[in-house]
Every structure is written in structure tokens, then in C-alpha cells.
């Protein structure tokens, strides 16, 4: 692994319950600055829940309780007063594309506007840059004022990626972004992610059901199962012939269950 890695997110003994039902059972690990961390694991393993704790959108689930701590740059996120500022540091791409009921332009300009940016020229620039990064610009540049919800599923997903980039986050979390996206566009977005990591120095957490995607992109990979972190290691080790746990090997090689 790289030398002098700095810890960006420090998760310690994180437990999450929905009512009485556990979703995460005391997990601890660090996310390093500027790495791409792949998170894999079968359904219901708590991957989405983990992301929601980090940007504190789990607060909208009334019966969810969180124990343990998540520190971002050394600060416990649950104690941060300016939760909006915290969320602006984190770009979040949800599994099903959620187009806000706004035009394509307004979708991407939403976050900069809520942060107070009004300058039209700057907004135009951000919108173009983000749409290009999300590999969507060429398809929509002539109809920026059309409703975002009128785009195809894959286009909407790329729109949400553009939107997540619009507030120049330090951390980008992607939750199964490729569900609705065709393989060719997926490849293009993967290129963008690599570029964001190397050039924009973004920290990327990539939750994915496609283990090969983690293998292609991630520096390190974490394997989750039923709310437990089974193993986290460099991607090479996780995908090698001998990861620390047999079950990791089975999952990665598709003979799981």
C-alpha cells in the first residue's frame, strides 16, 4: 500500500439498528484519503446504511439508532453543527436514479444554488463541467431545460452523478451506480472515477454488486456480510487465491451460498 496514507474517514465500532433489527454490528475501519475503496457484499449487508451514516441522511429514518463513531478529518460527524456543510463535502449517488423534479440544468445547479451561488456564468460552467465528467454532456447539451425525469434510466443515473459532483465534494460515495447503466457507459463512468481519483484527488467509496468493478477500480476492497465487516484489504489480496477468509474467496469467485 501507499506510503504516508492519511485517514479521511475513521469508523469505529459503528452499530446501527432499525428499531430492534441490527443493520451494522460494530464495524471499524479507516478510509484513506484519495483512495478508491470498493465495498462489496450481498444484499442486506448494510452497505447503504453505512453510507447514510456518513452523510447523516439516516437521520430521516425515524427508528434508526446509531452507536459508535464516524470521524471525518478527525471530527465526529454526529457532533457537526453545520450538517449541510458536511453533506456538501460528500457527493452521494444513490442506486436508483432520483431525478429531482427539475430541469437537467437545475438538477445540476441545485447544490451550488443551495450553497448560495447565483452567478449565471459560474453556474453554466459548473453544469457543463459536471455533465461532461458524468459522460452526459453530449447527449443533453441541446436540451438542458428539459425535465431531468424525462431522461432514460441510464441518463438519469449519470445526471445524479453529475449532481453529486456539482458541489465539488471531497468524498464521492457511489451506491451501486451501474444498476441502470449500460456496460459501455459504465466503462466511461469508471474512467471518470479513476480520473477524479488521480487528478481531482477525491476519496471515493464505491459500493458495488459487481465484484469485477471493485477489482477494476478499487485500491482496497471491503467485504460486508449481514452487517459485519468480514475483511478489508488491498484489492489484490481480496481477489487473490488466499484472502484471509474463505467466505470472501467464495463470494468474490461467485460460489457463495
Amino acid at each position: 500500500m501507499k506510503q504516508n496514507v492519511k485517514t479521511k474517514i475513521e469508523i469505529s465500532d459503528l452499530k446501527v439498528h432499525y428499531g430492534n433489527k441490527p443493520a451494522l454490528n460494530g464495524i471499524s475501519f479507516d478510509v484513506y484519503e484519495n483512495e478508491i475503496l470498493g465495498i462489496i457484499g450481498p444484499a442486506q449487508s448494510g452497505k447503504t446504511t453505512l453510507l447514510k451514516v456518513i452523510n447523516r441522511t439516516l437521520e430521516f429514518t425515524a427508528d434508526a439508532t446509531v452507536e459508535g463513531s464516524v470521524k471525518l478529518d478527525g471530527v465526529d460527524v454526529s457532533t457537526i453543527g453545520d450538517v449541510y456543510g458536511l453533506r456538501r463535502k460528500i457527493g452521494m449517488v444513490l442506486p436508483l436514479p432520483v431525478g429531482l423534479p427539475l430541469s437537467i440544468y437545475d438538477n445540476v445547479a441545485f447544490a451550488p444554488r443551495t450553497a448560495g451561488l447565483r452567478n449565471k456564468a459560474e453556474l453554466d460552467e459548473i453544469v457543463e463541467r459536471c455533465l461532461q465528467q458524468a459522460a452526459l454532456w453530449d447527449e443533453v447539451k441541446d436540451r438542458l431545460n428539459a425535465l431531468g425525469t424525462k431522461l432514460s434510466g441510464g441518463q438519469q443515473q449519470r445526471l445524479t452523478i453529475a449532481r453529486a459532483l456539482s458541489h465539488q465534494p471531497e468524498i464521492l460515495c457511489l451506491d451501486e451506480f451501474s444498476i441502470a447503466v449500460d456496460p459501455i457507459t459504465t466503462m466511461r463512468i469508471e474512467e471518470v472515477l479513476k480520473m477524479l481519483s488521480t487528478e481531482a484527488k477525491m476519496t471515493i467509496m464505491l459500493v458495488t454488486n459487481l465484484v469485477q468493478q471493485a477489482k477494476r477500480l478499487a485500491n482496497r476492497t471491503a467485504f460486508f456480510l449481514n452487517g459485519n465487516l468480514i475483511e478489508i484489504d488491498t484489492t489484490d489480496v481480496i481477489f487473490s487465491e488466499n484472502p484471509a477468509n474463505q467466505i470472501t474467496y467464495d463470494y468474490v469467485n461467485g460460489n457463495f451460498g
Binding site: 441522511t57 453533506r87 444513490l94 443551495t114 458541489h167
Partner: protein, 244 residues
């Protein structure tokens, strides 16, 4: 049916019964001079001016209902006791068919346009206003809450994830999406109020047949039926598995 729901419904029901009895008492005590024709020099406003007051009041009650629903749905967690109590009351009130409110309104209206004089009409008029408020407000609260709830959580979550404040999420996402539903609910409530007002108009032009009715003993039977019907529908919403 879970236990806390029964508790909240019971508390709601008890408060309703207490309020109902209190108003019943007030109304009964203003029935003293029933049978008198309204006199030309009396200080009572005419029936018409009452109606013209009732409709703007209903409109206000509807707007208040919308505000109430926003407060309950967006500011209070579903587990909050105040929210649960109000929701229980709303469930009971919306379970009552609007026809019953109409009949209740007629009963009060006839009493105050025909019956009492002097002090009496004031209390009765407030009782009438209350009937209209109860006719429109719970319905508005309920439909508005449903409209707000119909805005999918992921939409809110995505907006919040982009760093929007609650106000921005409401004004930019939730309200535009929920607006048609909220408006439909308001229209439905307003149509209830208008229909009740029309009923009162009809009764008014219909004339003073009420007097004869009272002497024929119809009045008390009418009241009895009305109370029974109210009770039944109240129990109906009380017993219903899923009131909200």
C-alpha cells in the same frame, strides 16, 4: 392493533366527548326561548350574513389545516405524542360522514335563526363556526399529510444529500410535487363547506317549519338520531384497524 394506538385513540375520544358535552350544555342552555320569531329590531345578524362569515372562516380553517399538516408531517417525528394525539383526533373526525356535520350544522343554525334571542345566538354562532371548522380542518390535515407523504423519501434524501436545508427541500422539491394533492384536498374540504352552507340556505328559505316540528316532537327524535349516528361513526373510526 398495537397498544399505544388504542391509548392514543382513547385519549382522543375522551377529549372529544368532553368538548362535545361542554358544547351540548352551552347549546341546551340557549334553547330557552325557542319558538319565537326573530324580531326585526333584534341585534342578531341575518342568516345570510352568517353564511357569508362561515365561508371565509372555512377557508381560513383549510389554510390552517394545511399549515398544521406541514407542522405535523415535517417537523415532528411520527413517534411524537402530540402528533399521534392529533392524528388520532383527525382519524376520528374524518371517519364521520359529512352528512352528519351538515345535519348538525342545520340543527344549530335553525336554533339560532329561529329560536333564541339576545345572548344566545352568540354561543350558537360559535358552535356553528366550530361545526364548519371540524367539517373541513381534519379532512385538510389528512389529505395534506397524505400528499406530503406521497413524495418519495429518496427525493428528499437526495436533496438533503446535496446539502439543502429543510426549507430548501420543502420549497424546491416537496411542495411542487405535493401541490396537486394538497390542492385537491383543499378543494374537497371547501366543497364540503359549500355544500353545508347550501344546505343551510335551503333550510332558511324553506321557512319556519321547524316550529311545528318542535311541537310535534320531531326535534328531540332528530337530535337523538343525530347523536346516535355521531356515536356510531366515532366508534367506527375508533375500531378501524388502521386509522391513518
Amino acid at each position: 392493533m398495537d397498544k399505544s394506538k388504542i391509548v392514543f385513540h382513547s385519549i382522543a375520544l375522551i377529549t372529544l366527548v368532553v368538548v362535545f358535552l361542554f358544547f351540548w350544555y352551552l347549546i341546551e342552555n340557549t334553547h330557552t326561548e325557542i319558538g319565537q320569531q326573530p324580531t326585526a329590531n333584534s341585534q342578531q345578524p341575518t342568516a345570510d350574513s352568517h353564511l357569508y362569515l362561515l365561508l371565509p372562516i372555512s377557508l381560513l380553517a383549510i389554510l390552517l389545516g394545511v399549515a398544521c399538516a406541514f407542522y405535523l408531517e415535517e417537523r415532528l417525528p411520527p413517534t411524537n405524542w402530540f402528533r399521534r394525539l392529533i392524528e388520532s383526533e383527525v382519524a376520528i373526525f374524518t371517519g364521520i360522514p359529512s352528512l352528519l356535520y351538515g345535519l348538525l350544522a342545520v340543527e344549530i343554525f335553525v336554533s339560532y335563526t329561529l329560536g333564541s334571542s339576545g345572548q344566545g345566538w352568540g354561543v350558537l354562532f360559535y358552535a356553528e363556526v366550530l361545526t364548519f371548522i371540524v367539517l373541513v380542518m381534519p379532512l385538510t390535515i389528512r389529505t395534506t399529510q397524505a400528499a406530503l407523504r406521497s413524495v418519495a423519501t429518496p427525493i428528499r434524501e437526495s436533496a438533503y444529500a446535496l446539502g439543502a436545508s429543510q426549507w430548501q427541500v420543502l420549497s424546491n422539491q416537496v411542495v411542487p410535487l405535493a401541490f396537486p394533492g394538497i390542492l385537491a384536498g383543499c378543494c374537497r374540504a371547501m366543497s364540503r363547506a359549500l355544500a353545508a352552507a347550501a344546505l343551510l340556505m335551503g333550510i332558511h328559505t324553506w321557512g319556519y317549519t321547524h316550529e311545528t316540528a318542535i311541537s310535534a316532537g320531531i326535534h328531540s327524535r332528530y337530535v337523538l338520531l343525530l347523536v346516535a349516528a355521531l356515536l356510531f361513526s366515532t366508534f367506527f373510526s375508533f375500531l378501524k384497524e388502521n386509522p391513518t
